[in-house]
Symmetry: C2
């Protein structure tokens, strides 16, 4: 428990800002107070979270406002008022949390100087791959490791487009216009498509991993990728992905964003749709891979709030643990799910119907059936593989117990559960 609440001033209530407010309202066990909100769109917000909140119609009024500990900058853009209020806050020795990749990548060095001089912090987990705590991983978990390279898929929109082009057999422009309708691409998706967005994120990763503040990263986008090339790459065993790569070796820094072919077996080739995926290679941990939804209001807001909580330096140990007092442990008997079954039986008629009869008694229905060649000549033994629809584990166990006692069963039936994770 802090003696005083951590006061935050939020600038910008767009997609991420609205998500943050939702999250703050739901995440109740906290010591955070919203002391100011600056937003052109919103009128006064009601509820206990806003009872001490000052509302401004323009973020410029925050320049004359001082009753906060942390500025949460969610306006965006690498110039204008976003830049002004961040620099103003740091000069006031306030901490800053921002999701603004363009700003952080462009003014990295300035912000480092300001935070050092003023003994304050700027945190930007939300600026790189919203739902993936990659900054925390590099700055905290891997702090003792020397990072060799970081690469991955840093833009969800372009990954979605490339994945969809191949899976739905359509060209770039058609998928892009669908993506806009579905909300997977912004109305002006230029920076997502041409690699600019990925290069901002890569610039930040290079800065934190290697101390290399790269302003101009060579970037190529996916605007010229043809469906034909996706298909040919597929037949050759590759996927085409928009890759961001930063690698530091022997004082040489490689830092590129371009679409490329990746073996289907590689970690990041397997990441499709709106997901981002980042691989970090380091001297002691070798290879770590992180996957999450790279964009969207809520994953990004989660990153913003994680930074705010870190700055509150609250004792984290008492946070989640005391939520629960009573709960019921579900018995495996009560599992509802599908099953894989392998029967070793006599090779004669009546076997399938014998099994099916027992299934019927216990409300089990077959999804697929397959008879395997045992590989033995004249063996008179049959191997039958059955997968089932969802049923209750205890019914399955009862049915198997009955089936295993049938005369045509040669060995105890092998069963494995099937889990339907995506």
């Amino acid at each position: 428990m802090l003696k005083n609440k951590l006061k935050i001033a939020i600038a910008g209530i767009g997609t991420v800002g609205s998500g943050l407010l939702d999250l703050l309202k739901k995440y109740k066990d906290q010591n955070i107070e919203v002391s100011a909100i600056a937003s052109r769109k919103h009128t006064k917000l009601k509820g206990k979270y806003f009872k001490n909140t000052t509302f401004f119609k323009d973020a410029k009024y925050l320049l004359d406002f001082n009753d906060y500990d942390v500025l949460v900058e969610l306006i965006g853009g690498d110039s204008g008022i976003a830049k002004l209020i961040v620099i103003d806050a740091l000069n006031k020795k306030k901490n800053v949390v921002t999701a603004n990749k363009a700003l952080v990548s462009r003014y990295w060095n300035d912000f480092q100087k300001l935070t050092t001089i003023n003994n304050c912090k700027i945190k930007f987990e939300a600026a790189v791959a919203g739902g993936i705590p990659i900054i925390k991983v590099i700055d905290e978990f891997l702090l003792s490791n020397k990072i060799k390279r970081i690469y991955g898929i840093l833009n969800g929109t372009s990954n979605y487009i490339l994945s969809e082009m191949l899976s739905s057999n359509k060209e770039f422009n058609k998928i892009l216009s669908d993506a806009k309708k579905l909300g997977y691409a912004e109305s002006d998706p230029t920076f997502d498509i041409d690699g600019t967005d990925a290069s901002h994120k890569l610039s930040i990763l290079s800065s934190i991993a290697f101390g290399c503040d790269v302003q101009k990263i060579k970037n190529e986008g996916i605007q010229n990728i043809n469906l034909l090339d996706l298909k040919i790459a597929d037949t050759l065993g590759y996927k085409i992905k928009l890759l961001g790569l930063t690698e530091f070796d022997n004082n040489n820094l490689k830092c590129f964003v371009y679409p490329c072919l990746l073996s289907k077996d590689s970690f990041i080739a397997k990441i499709d749709g709106v997901y981002n995926g980042i691989v970090v290679e380091s001297d002691f941990c070798k290879k770590s891979c992180f996957v999450g939804e790279g964009a969207g209001a809520y994953p990004t807001a989660t990153s913003v709030l994680s930074d705010i909580i870190d700055l509150s330096q609250r004792n984290l140990d008492n946070s989640r643990k005391k939520n629960l007092s009573k709960y019921k442990i579900v018995n495996l008997d009560d599992r509802l799910g599908c099953y894989y079954l392998r029967f070793s039986t006599d090779d004669k008629s009546g076997v399938i119907s014998g099994i099916a009869n027992e299934f019927k008694k216990f409300n089990i229905s077959m999804k697929s059936m397959l008879q395997k060649d045992t590989g033995k000549v004249n063996s008179a033994e049959a191997t039958i593989v059955i997968t089932t629809h969802t049923c209750l584990e205890k019914n399955m166990m009862k049915a198997l117990s009955k089936i295993n006692n049938l005369s045509f069963i040669r060995q105890k039936t092998v069963y494995l559960r099937i889990e339907n994770f995506k």
Copy 2:
């Protein structure tokens, strides 16, 4: 900078302990002092990290030793001296860092009470999936989110065995004995194979995510998995994995460890070999996936050191960033790598030799060549796809520039880089 160094007492110099010492020696920029080492095996270690170190032949002597801030318990086991020194340290109001999953899962409630009473901490990032910061993710990054379920591959040894059985077409016992020789399985691998190790980790995950301290998790292992079932599952579109699952819904807790079939398209089915992979599903971040080497001295030691550094509460902002002053940015022209090329040409003889001649001038060699059907009848147009061996980007650009001017080229040649990540 801490005013005083953080003093750590390390108990147990086995695989992880040795890894931690290596890491401490390499990770120089720190404020950590090893004030004591208790180990039966090691005689005195030399070097500046140990100049203030007291050496004990038995960890029991730590019970009478107080000159430390953090006990680092790397002995293992859920009873005996490991338990004694951890409880002793917490009673002395010292912090504890441990990699001991059996101990933490068994005495979760006791440790929570002790740390609350004594206002100290026990940290155990290394106890669950060594190279993956899953505790940090749940306790810090996702603190504002309600976790719905956590599932994944929590044991590297069993994942290696299942992966190898299928890929090398051998039965369980053969692969297990190979794995022991290769160091991927311990001499007594019982707990890895039968699901006990995974159930300890799952118990800890249930505790931190849901506040449910589950002592007895129903676990089944992989000791009875047949190669035949792996193969049949493969033909049906599944992989067999040893799954750990904990899910909390409406005050019902599911908590299971068993081998099961997973669709090849699912995130965790794609994780093969010694890797661990964990999926966390939460209300705001939806699905996040973390992959890393689950075992091994160095990933585990990285987790231990990450906990130690967190306890030192040092200002993390000045850690990695000032490492570098001068570096050279590698130009994309200097990229060494493979290329995918698609040529649109006249459909006539001499085309391949024309391309090959230019390749030769610029030291480019072909790896594969494939002529695509253009799909147009009598089109007199040919599509040729070539992949190359490694060459220099600037040579490729020069060659393509020449080739694009050849008379038989109909459209500007499409090129994409090929990256060889695993």
